[in-house]
């Protein structure tokens, strides 16, 4: 695939590793925000290839992992209604609520279907006028325009049997919250390239200035990741803290303006709870009043108030500390023993791109269950 495999070239990877090796003098902690980047890093063993001075911390950027339990519970409750077809991305199917996940709901009789795209749910709703088609719409800024386009299309087709449960997160507020912590260990950030494709990176300048830390817009392939890390290290060694773009073929400073307009038209900022982390002010998005007809929770009278949402502070799962960069996966006593992808305890074990699941699949440094 053009524009993809070039960035997995082992010669390029070697060159970049050498380049990083030459410039790094001091120990640094770099956090990649996005779970997709975490997945690549662990899958390709990038953390192993880097000089020991560089520690990669894995951020909270996986919408599947950070969607609150309450939202999953509501989705399951609605899915179990006989006239409902509950749909979502494959990632959401195994995320446990307080009792069980959507696949278990399916085994109990709910009509739960995996779709590739929110747009597919519109066709499904049109073909099943006697059923209510609900899409569990999770996402960061990358996925949000897709959900909104589906809602617009449903409106155009005058479909009254389509609605969404939203669980939408924004990245800058999360970076702000992580950096503002007193004991924050993060020296520099790799910003999520695909979020920036939509949002641009102008929002990050004030953050870089406020905390005097480099933020480098970074892609997802091994070469892209190493290039982002390289630029971040150069900044750190030069004691600069600005925003740079290491993913120029995809991301512009302004981002996708049409998508941003769409988001302004249809959404309003909201306080948002992050599973494993807690509430972060104005770190989420919800449908504007004009689109309330498509809000499944309104439709089913099942609204969730932010104050009802648990913050999971009482648990010994250290997911929150991991996603804030305070602890490593290796510090967790449950990893791979009591917490596995089949029976996850913490958020990052939930999605295949969650940091714990990535480590479990690709390194699994503790005993596997069957051995």
């Amino acid at each position: 695939m053009k524009h993809l495999y070039e960035y997995r070239n082992s010669e390029q990877v070697k060159r970049l590793i050498q380049a990083i090796d030459k410039v790094v003098l001091n120990p640094w902690n770099i956090m990649e925000i996005c779970g997709g980047q975490t997945h690549s890093i662990v899958r390709y063993g990038i953390d192993e290839m880097l000089p020991d001075k560089i520690t990669l911390l894995h951020g909270p950027g996986c919408p599947v992992c950070v969607t609150p339990i309450t939202v999953i519970d509501k989705a399951i409750e609605i899915a179990l209604k006989p006239y409902v077809i509950m749909t979502s991305f494959g990632d959401m199917m195994r995320v446990p609520g307080s009792q069980f996940d959507l696949l278990h709901a399916k085994a109990k009789g709910a009509d739960v279907r995996v779709l590739y795209s929110t747009l597919d749910a519109i066709d499904l709703a049109e073909k099943n006028p006697e059923r209510e088609v609900v899409f569990l719409a999770v996402g960061f800024e990358t996925t949000v325009p897709l959900h909104l386009t589906a809602i617009k299309e449903a409106k155009r087709r005058k479909l009254t049997n389509f609605s969404v449960i939203t669980s939408l997160f924004t990245v800058p507020a999360a970076i702000d919250a992580i950096l503002a912590e007193k004991d924050c260990k993060v020296d520099g950030f790799l910003a999520a390239g695909h979020v920036c494709a939509v949002m641009g990176y102008h929002e990050y300048h004030p953050l870089a200035e406020k905390f005097r830390k480099p933020i480098v817009v970074t892609g997802f392939e091994p070469v892209d990741l190493l290039y982002g890390i390289y630029q971040c290290i150069v900044q750190l060694e030069n004691k600069t803290g600005k925003v740079e773009n290491a993913y120029q073929r995809i991301v512009t400073e302004a981002g996708n303006l049409k998508m941003q307009e769409l988001m302004k038209e249809m959404l309003v900022p909201a306080d948002q709870a992050w599973r494993g982390i807690g509430k972060i002010d104005k770190s989420g998005l919800k449908l504007a009043d004009a689109f309330k007809d498509f809000d499944a929770l309104e439709k089913f009278g099942a609204s969730i108030h932010t104050q009802d949402i648990e913050t999971i502070t009482q648990t010994r799962c250290i997911a929150g500390d991991i996603m804030r960069g305070n602890k490593q996966v290796a510090d967790c006593p449950f990893f791979g023993v009591k917490c596995t992808p089949e029976y996850p305890i913490g958020a990052p074990m939930v999605s295949t791109e969650g940091v714990c699941a990535a480590y479990y699949s690709y390194t699994n440094f503790k005993e596997q269950a069957w051995s």
Binding site: F89, Q99, L115, E342, S351, S361, N364
Partner: protein
Amino acid sequence: MELNCPLPVTEAEYILLGHGSGGRLTRKLIDEVFYPAFRNPILEQDHDGGVFAVDKKRMAITTDSYVVDPVFFPGGNIGDLAINGTVNDLACCGAKPLYLTVGFILEEGFAIADLKVIVNSMRKAADKAGVFIVTGDTKVVERGKCDKIFINTSGVGVLDDDINISPAKACAGDVVICSGPIGVHGITILSTRESLGFETSLQSDTAALNGMLNELCGQIKDIHVLRDPTRGGVSSTLNEIAQTSHVEIEIEEALLPVPEVVRSASELLGLDPLYIANEGVVLVILPSEVSEEALKIMRSFPEGKQAVIIGTVKSSERASVKLKTLFGGRRIVTMLNGDQLPRIC
């Protein structure tokens, strides 16, 4: 240590789809439900079929049920699959497949014209594999009680005395040969799913491998393991072998025969080709000294034309499968956890 967590750590008390996916959940079901009830030395060979002797003549028996949606797919249908799958399971025991039985479970309302098409392809597949369908059974269930048509086939075959193939026999110094491109069947089936909707030029690789495998077993006497990586894909099959043989199997990413389209589809859907089902591929594990000869034999058959060595077997205290990545790093390859689902993340 007390676990104080708001999430459940309870195991499922009922069957999930993942229990049939050929991965870890399937293994759990076998180990915790079936083995305790049925345990005996033949079953514990942990093979694709049971091998036993009648009047000193060695035989293999196997059974498999086929449920596939859609029933007709590019490159075949449920009928071909049901013949080839059972033939291949026998061949993977080192047996020469001879006779098959067929059981149909049909849904009320299923078109007889479709059934005829399926049955004719079964006949063709049986002819091609050189086996006879010698008895059968039909049941019809009410509409909605099964999905169009389910087929069970069982088969018996005979083995030469000097053949000793078993998933427990992989040992240090062996190499792993993969007979052909991986992931083709699984991606073909996915491409037909309305909810995913994509077009490829792929066709299922469903094929009987007994011609090639019988020739291989006839020529090379110290083949250690034969296994077709169907559900759960190459990684789940290798994990089972590693576990049964108590060895480490190391495969190399650069050597894996993944066709371009399978790779692309996997990228787009967020799947790993190592976990995708195959219906015309076999993994052969044998001493490296005889690997060139084996490759030569396999490549002389159309279904083994692209046979390649993908890895080696090492002794290890811990049974595991490792992958040497394109960049020289090593990572663990686990068994499939539930079904692979297309993902956005």
